[in-house]
């Protein structure tokens, strides 16, 4: 499979030029660096909780690149740090959330880190509740159709979320009305401690699409190009009125479910080491290096740059005050 991918990248008709690939890599380095920092802050007692995107980054970054930023709508979930960064949130904004500080742009620190809305970036109402956002994403797509607007919608969710009734209702509704929505499942094969084989009897989440008469594909979610291509194809379908697509991106969860979890209780020994062999950051580094697009110097420059951005963001977020309580009662109703 790796060979097939590589040959695709060397193909001059590949949709991604080397500049874009480098940009994606740079984004991934930043996301990983920030994610690691958040864990450190958690261990220092400065960030109450973190659910990590480590191992999911290629799926997240590749999908955003395939869509129109500033126009398409993104219904994300708590593990989508790299989506948020790629859409244009800054590390400082993210860290303000993790430290629950004033100026946090998504919810004014009313919500858990990464939750809320950032409408300018197309991030709409991220809740903590699994799968509630799938029907909402379908509604957003319905609104596009009703208003005759040409934005499309992508909704991100985990493998566990596919069990929820809301998910099935959303798939059915979207397909029935051929709505411009992409269902993007980040399958890391665990829902907290519950492995996929205890979550569902089917082996492939993509296979569920058949029951709703929509295309479903399973892809290597650690391969940013494969993700880009699959989402581009789904976006083309959505934009041309052909309706939804279900994409199952096979990703890896390198870390416990959240910083509150202890995965040694339930993950077999050696499994994470095995998963780390599919590290999307390493994979992209390797393939860009072998294509001659990335050299060691540029790589180091990206990492240094990411560290200094994250350091500065950390300092700013740490120095920020907590939001005061003056508007505590506000925004319960319109007026």
């Amino acid at each position: 499979m790796a060979t097939a991918n590589r040959s695709k990248r060397q193909d001059p008709s590949s949709p991604l030029d080397s500049e874009t690939l480098l940009e994606m890599y740079r984004q991934m380095v930043l996301s990983r660096t920030l994610d690691e920092r958040i864990w450190m802050l958690n261990r220092q007692g400065k960030a109450a909780i973190v659910a990590s995107s480590q191992g999911h980054e290629a799926g997240q970054i590749g999908s955003v690149y395939a869509l129109q930023r500033g126009k398409d709508q993104f219904y994300i979930y708590y593990r989508d740090l790299a989506v948020m960064l790629t859409l244009g949130m800054t590390p400082e904004e993210i860290l303000l959330g993790f430290m629950a500080k004033a100026g946090e742009p998504l919810s004014g620190a009313r919500q858990f880190p990464t939750h809320g809305a950032y409408l300018e970036l197309g991030i709409v109402n991220q809740s903590n509740v699994i799968a509630t956002h799938l029907p909402q994403a379908v509604g957003a797509a319905l609104a596009a159709k009703m208003k005759g607007e040409d934005y499309i919608v992508i909704v991100y969710f985990g493998d566990g979320a596919t069990s929820a009734g809301d998910t099935h209702e959303a798939l059915n509704f979207a397909s029935l009305h051929k709505l411009p929505v992409i269902f993007f499942c980040e399958n890391n094969k665990y829902a907290t401690s519950v492995p996929q084989h205890k979550q569902m009897a089917v082996e492939s989440i993509a296979s569920r699409a058949e029951g709703y008469a929509m295309p479903g594909i399973s892809i290597d979610g650690c391969d940013v190009v494969a993700v880009y291509e699959a989402v581009s194809e789904a976006a083309k379908r959505a934009r041309s009125g052909m309706g939804p697509t279900l994409i199952e991106a096979m990703v890896e969860r390198f870390l416990p479910h959240t910083s509150d979890d202890d995965d040694s209780i339930y993950r077999p020994k050696g499994e994470i080491e095995e998963a780390r062999k599919r590290d999307p950051l390493k994979a992209l580094n390797l393939s860009l290096t072998s294509l001659g697009i990335l050299d060691a110097e540029t790589d180091k420059q990206y990492l240094d740059e990411a560290r200094s951005i994250v350091n500065e963001a950390t300092d700013l977020a740490e120095a920020a005050p907590f939001p005061d309580t003056s508007d505590f009662m506000e925004h319960v109703y319109y007026s």
Binding site: A48, A100, G108, G165, V194, F322, F328
Partner: protein, 334 residues
Amino acid sequence: MIRRRCAIAVKNVLEAVHDAMQEEMRRDERVFVLGEDVGRRGGVFLATNGFLDEFGEARVMDTPLAESSIAGVALGAAMHGMRPIAEIQFGDFIWPIFNQIVGEAARVRYGTKGKLSVPMVVRTPHGGGVRGGLYHSQSIEAYFYHTPGLKVVAPATPFDAKGLLKSAIRDDDPVIFLEHKRTYRLVQGEVPDEDYTLPIGKADVKRQGTDVTIVTYGLMVHHCLEAARELEEEGVSCEVVDVRTLRPLDMDTILESVAKTGKALVVHEDNKFGGVGGEIAATISEEGFEFLDGPVTRLAGPEVPAMPYSPLLEDMYMINPAKIAQAIRKLSAY
């Protein structure tokens, strides 16, 4: 006669919940648990820690991530001779079961003229003050206690949690069992090793007093006791009634206390409007009017739809001993 000294251990609320389920599962093969991560993980709070090894996968079921089916499947099994304990990982994620529990389980006995029983328990951690933000802090009791046919239990101490959970499991009606997650590890207390149950629907006077009656439940019991100690120094004697069960509500114990003190303050973390406090206050006014020499007062969560995450905002939401003490001072001045 040889008096057997019964062993007592100090446990926290979580251990009490764990032990109650474990003992009931050992006692009765029909009892089983189902929920997200209850198996190998032992539950995200470890309430079912070790259960998988002791009872096996058939009785300790990791379910798909779909709350409606957790409750609905439990309901179906309960109507066919099993005694399921359904765990909803956080109270905030309980809403999908509303249809199965409020719409169905509560009405089964009445709707079949007693042909069917629903001996099931839905356990869930509720409440805030844990930096849990919008979706790990909610109070959910008011939505359930409104419904005849359901029992709603909300213990505050390890002793009560164990005795009441055992009763809930043995009860032939559906019980919503609310465990305040802040009490899980924080609150310790003596729990006898021997088998005991506590009656559902019976309040407990946690502190005797003569000037003001404080009626409360859950985490707030502890905050009220702290406030009562503070007021004692100011010469105000408070009686603290822990209702323990929200439905059926033990109005007798509440009224008995109000008859003694003449003043009632109802305290809960949940929003005030439409909350449990409204029912308690209304009943005190209806049935205890002649005892009163001050307004029946409620101290409850503010009228915002969620507990915010950031610390100052969360503190603003939460009822604490200082706020309770202030409310007592105001009331006792009448």
